[in-house]
Amino acid sequence: MTSDREQDLRDRVAAFVAGHDPRADLMEYLRARFDSGLAWVHFPVGLGGLDLPRPLQAIVDGELAAAGAPDNNPRRIGIGLGMAAPTILAAGTDEQRRRWLRPLWTGEEVWCQLFSEPGAGSDLAAVATRAVRDGDSWVVNGQKVWTSMAHEARWGILIARTDPDVPKHAGLTYFACDMTDPGVEVRPLRQLTGEAEFNEVFLTDVRIPDAHRLGAVGDGWRVAQTTLMNERVAIGGGNAPREAGAIAAVVTAWRERPELRTAAAHDELMRLWVEAEAVRLTGIRLRQQLAAGSPGPEGSAAKLAFARLNQDVSGFELELLGSDGLRYDDWSTDTWTTERPAVVDFLARSAGYRYLRAKGNSIEGGSSEILRNIIAERVLGLPGEIRVDKDVPWKDLPK
């Protein structure tokens, strides 16, 4: 029965390829692919999917790649695909799903995530950005930070405080914010690598129609959980081949440059190789689990391991390369000037860049310390942290 379903899907892809030429108009081609249910097969019919199990998407992607068809450049629209889309699907109205999902998937509309604030990092539920109801819309004021792609985004998923008089988790509401609103100001945020991959976003009297609210008023925290669980899966998951990722640069250097080899470095190299392979297999197992259900706390563990691995491998790589490791990036250009990369190409850069950029891996998308709390409490059932702010109205919390 499964193989029948797989064959049907292959036939469907073949029919689609025969009827659509991506060289004519790429965007028309991508829209047609969405309308044929071949965008993400696990989504509902009519919303880019076919109501099929998620792993079957690999068949579609494989067949299309074999046919030489271009994709929707998923790395550029990762936040939309990985975080906004599952949230819109889970919490959106039919109208919202129809409006947003297609241009999100084709890449016509880039999405960003307006969650973190200067005063709300790990304690995300403490966000201070206010949304005040005014007729059919909301007036939003506040400051967001660490917003990738805000400078290219058309939409931002936003959590804002709609009721300061109740405890912090209860007073939040989830919106889609139009980034072209005149009250939205995006400023680059330069990070320790020298680049500005991220932004600060200042929201001043931004008007958001109530029709752009996702979920009920006051239900923003629950809606955000869908986003965050998917974020960790997106960061920690992956189905890469052996020796892909950060370890690739190290094993290549080891094989090509025998003069770098020492006995002590060899055992360290093999420790990291083992860890990389363990992380890779765990990611594959996680995806196999996801095929049977929805993302759970296992995604937190994958993200935790991924961060540590990237940091350990890139730190080792720098030492292995010795004096070459001390030269930052391509030394023919001055890369300490601010650049704004659309996507982070971890592997195309120098060892020094990898080392520095990996430092963000244990902070972004839930710090490793918060992830350990999540595992301890939600998986192992250990007691929660003592919460001094639990029953206090948000407005009365010390800030």
Partner: protein, 357 residues
């Protein structure tokens, strides 16, 4: 990669029945007393596992006397045997059966697969090395120190420079060794012109295939042991109160438990991959097994060490079984080679040489 790293429903049912049987017939509390008795092996349990679960023949084809399942199922049994620190000759016997099969010893197999006769692969625990056993026609002479599961074996399968030899246990002298891990005790085996039957020529791969399957099963045992240590420790963190709070509410301890859980989640993916590769005779099996032993051994040791530490004073007593897990985990991490030995093996397999050519 297509290997299924999850557990099938059948595997989970098998796990439940083995766990049930072990809980009834081999409670961990009794395991401590057994280590000090004259009979460290639980022979009744071993017979019950062979008869009721069929673990001796599970992965072998029916035409040679097996049950036609695969090493994936046996690996799940190994997890449970590790979780309960059971004292049975499972590992040595299973490796011997694989060696016998590779050698094509079809007369020997049915007795081993039914569990009627118990065997072990006679190699020195702690990194099998080239044996100095001398073979003279149908007689062998020499000594092997620190052999697992030989104490209660009926027959020994002895890899030598001349191939694989079958020796009846009655023809050798066995000296029990006070062992770090008394749930898998060692003995020294001496052969004085012992009658030996050659089962395989050198190079037939009998020893290597046995160690490959044995390695996959050992990594699953390590996984099961680690998971049980974590479960026991987490339960204790919830019930033990100090400073007016369960100690599991302290972040320093929660984070240790979370890190251990994450390491065990990785060990599970790695051990399942090894089991799947061995079951499917995948060409990647040597890499998968070396990886599994390099990864799961240290995770099991860490789990047992955390179990001792996080139980505080209780974990340091003889009365609490934490020490059985610690000893088993540490012995397991040496038995078929240390993690660093497996990393060195991996380096050869994946072309990452130690030094300049």
């Amino acid at each position: 990669m297509s290997a299924d790293l999850l557990y099938s429903d059948v595997e989970e049912q098998l796990r439940a029945s083995v766990r049930d049987l072990l809980a009834k017939r081999a409670p961990v509390a009794e395991a401590i007393a057994r280590t000090e008795s004259g009979e460290p092996y639980d022979q009744d349990l071993w017979r019950a596992l062979a008869r009721e679960v069929g673990i001796t023949g599970l992965a072998f084809e029916e035409e040679v006397g097996g049950h036609g399942a695969s090493w994936r199922e046996v690996a799940v049994v190994a997890e449970e045997l590790g979780a309960a620190v059971t004292a049975t000759p499972f590992l040595g016997h299973t490796m011997a059966a694989v060696a016998a099969q590779t050698a094509g010893a079809r007369d020997l197999l049915p007795g081993l697969l039914s569990g009627e006769r118990t065997a072990t692969l006679a190699v020195t625990a702690g990194g099998p090395r080239a044996s100095d056993i001398e073979v003279d026609g149908a007689k062998i002479t020499g000594q092997l120190t620190g052999v697992i599961d030989a104490l209660t074996a009926d027959v020994l399968l002895v890899p030598t420079a001349h191939g694989l030899h079958l020796v009846e246990a009655a023809a050798v002298s066995r000296t029990p060794v006070p062992s770090l891990d008394m749930t898998r005790p060692l003995c020294d085996v001496t052969f004085h012109s012992a009658a030996a039957t050659q089962l395989a020529e050198p190079g037939a791969g009998a020893r290597d295939s046995a160690l490959l399957v044995g390695g996959a099963l050992l990594s699953s045992e390590q996984l099961g042991l680690a998971q049980r240590c974590l479960d026991t420790t987490v339960a204790y963190l919830k019930e033990r109160y100090q400073f007016g709070r369960p100690i599991g509410s302290f972040q320093a301890l929660k984070h240790r438990a979370a890190d251990l859980w994450a390491a065990i989640a990785q060990a599970r993916a790695v051990a399942r991959y090894a089991a799947a590769c061995v079951a499917d005779q995948d060409p990647d099996a040597p890499v998968a097994v070396a990886l599994a032993l390099a990864y799961c051994g240290p995770v099991a040791v860490r789990a047992a060490e955390e179990c001792v530490q996080l139980h505080g004073g209780l974990g340091f007593t003889w009365e609490h079984p934490a020490h059985l897990y610690l000893k088993r985990a540490k012995a397991d991490a040496i038995l078929l080679g240390t993690a660093s030995a497996h990393r060195a093996r991996l380096a050869e397999l994946v072309a990452l040489p130690a030094s300049a050519p």
